[in-house]
Amino acid sequence: MYGKGRIIPALILFLGVMTSPIWYNSGEVSKLPKPEKPKDYKECVAPTQFMRTSHMVLLNQWRDNILREDGARTGRTANGTEYVRSLQNGCLKCHSDRKKFCDTCHTYASVKPYCWDCHLQPKEAM
């Protein structure tokens, strides 16, 4: 083998970079996020699995529907409970603690929503 002096370190560097997630985690299995569910309410506006994957789409739909298409401000769940189609005045009614609900998963998956740039949470101190 020729050029060992440069090739071997380069290969080690390559392997190191490629496997860096393994070293970074150093085998520690992190805890799964456990969002705190509202105690007083049993039912969300849509099934849990749908909310897990698509809540952001729903929020966007509400916004466009209400603002631009003059859609209804309220909706009904499968069981007929009325709810307000609004993040600030609807969702946060039940999920009143953003940190314990939203942020658990969002931090885990490193998704930074920009909702909170404008919208307010009940408990948030300015």
Binding site: M1, Y2, G3, K4, I7, A10, L11, F14, L15, M18, T19, P21, I22, Y24, N25, G27, E28, V29, S30, L32, P33, Q49, R52, T53, S54, M56, V57, L59, N60, C105, T107, Y108, A109, S110, V111, K112, P113, Y114
Partner: protein, 331 residues
């Protein structure tokens, strides 16, 4: 056929993944066993190929000099394109690897009225090649959020920068669009330019289709079909911590995505994609142009090859030399 066959191959891969995601145990196979296997083959394959290259010596110092060499002190040397020091080579390699300097230099020959051949600068290949590669890099780095916990700052920063325009929810990444655009350009270029089409092989289309498939399924997964990111991170992070588990509901699209990535990783070391490592080892680029200053050693230099000896020469022509008044060794 050169285009169709690789296309069918990629479709077949997708079909296999789709089936595998449905059958019992298939998800474990595609989601856990295959990624480990593919990653091991990728790493092992790349290292193996590089070591194979390294087994051969670089017998001669053959840099391509693209500028004025180091010569008389008052002549301005092009220290990067014709480096005479290690530092120059590092600069040259840096520009080559990170900015695709040689492609940037690209010109296009055109026949103009006359007819006259003219040469204009042609930067499109460079532009799309660099967009393609950098988008690929950003996308790969962004995916680190699924493999690392807590997510490192640079990954978040990258994600933020990439979602700068804040279009849609989940936020739309510019790199996704640019990446698809660049792949499309590289593909269309191969198909529409007759001489490029002529030189292209199935091995050129296959990775393009494969990478397109990966990007496409990824975009589909993020923006349209939607999957449970937390469940996915549990699996991917599990992979990185050797404790993988498939618990949540993960859509088939994810398994197609993963399957194609595995295919790419396995294909990588055995294909032209090895240019990733090869670019560092190209002797015309990574050598110092100092062969007149420092002797370069060729390990297989054959000392038995000697020139036709002067003695033999003189023996043959001695009489002529003497007649011509040229000094000889033996009278």
């Amino acid at each position: 056929m050169r285009i169709l066959n690789p296309f069918i191959a990629v479709l077949a891969l997708i079909a296999v993944a789709l089936v595998a995601a449905q059958v019992p145990g298939g998800q474990v196979l595609v989601g856990i066993i295959l990624p480990y296997l593919a990653f091991a083959l990728f790493l092992g394959g790349v290292v193996y190929r590089v070591l194979q290259w390294a087994k051969s010596p670089v017998p001669f110092r053959i840099p391509t000099t693209c500028g004025q060499a180091n010569s008389l002190p008052w002549i301005k040397q092009n220290k990067i394109d014709c480096p005479s020091t290690k530092l120059g080579v590092i600069a040259r390699m840096f520009l080559e690897v990170f900015l695709f300097r040689s492609l940037f230099r690209n010109t296009k020959a055109e026949m103009h009225d006359g007819p006259k051949l003219v040469y204009g600068s042609s930067k499109f290949l460079w532009l799309f090649a660099i967009l393609f590669h950098y988008c690929f890099l950003v996308i790969v780095l962004r995916h680190m959020r699924l493999f690392m916990d807590p997510v490192p700052g640079f990954v978040s920063a990258l994600e933020f920068g990439d979602g700068f325009l804040q279009i849609g929810a989940p936020v739309f990444y510019q790199t996704d669009a640019i990446f698809l655009g660049a792949i499309a350009f590289l593909f269309l270029r191969r198909v529409t330019l007759s001489n490029i089409r002529y030189i292209s092989l199935p091995a050129d289309y296959f990775p393009l289709f494969l990478i397109f498939g990966i990007a496409f399924t990824g975009i589909l997964m993020r923006y349209f079909l939607r999957v449970d990111v937390v469940a996915i991170k549990q699996l991917t992070h599990g992979l990185a911590t050797f404790s993988p588990a498939i618990t949540g509901q993960i859509g088939s699209i994810f398994f197609i995505h993963v399957f194609l990535i595995c295919a790419l990783m396995i294909y990588f070391p055995f294909s032209k994609l090895m240019h990733m490592a090869g670019i560092f080892m190209s002797p015309t680029r990574n050598m110092i142009n100092n062969s007149r200053m420092v002797r370069h050693i060729n390990p297989w230099n054959d000392p038995n090859i000697k020139p036709h000896s002067y003695a033999g020469y003189e023996d043959e022509f001695r009489e002529f030399m003497k007649e011509g008044g040229i000094p000889v060794e033996k009278e």
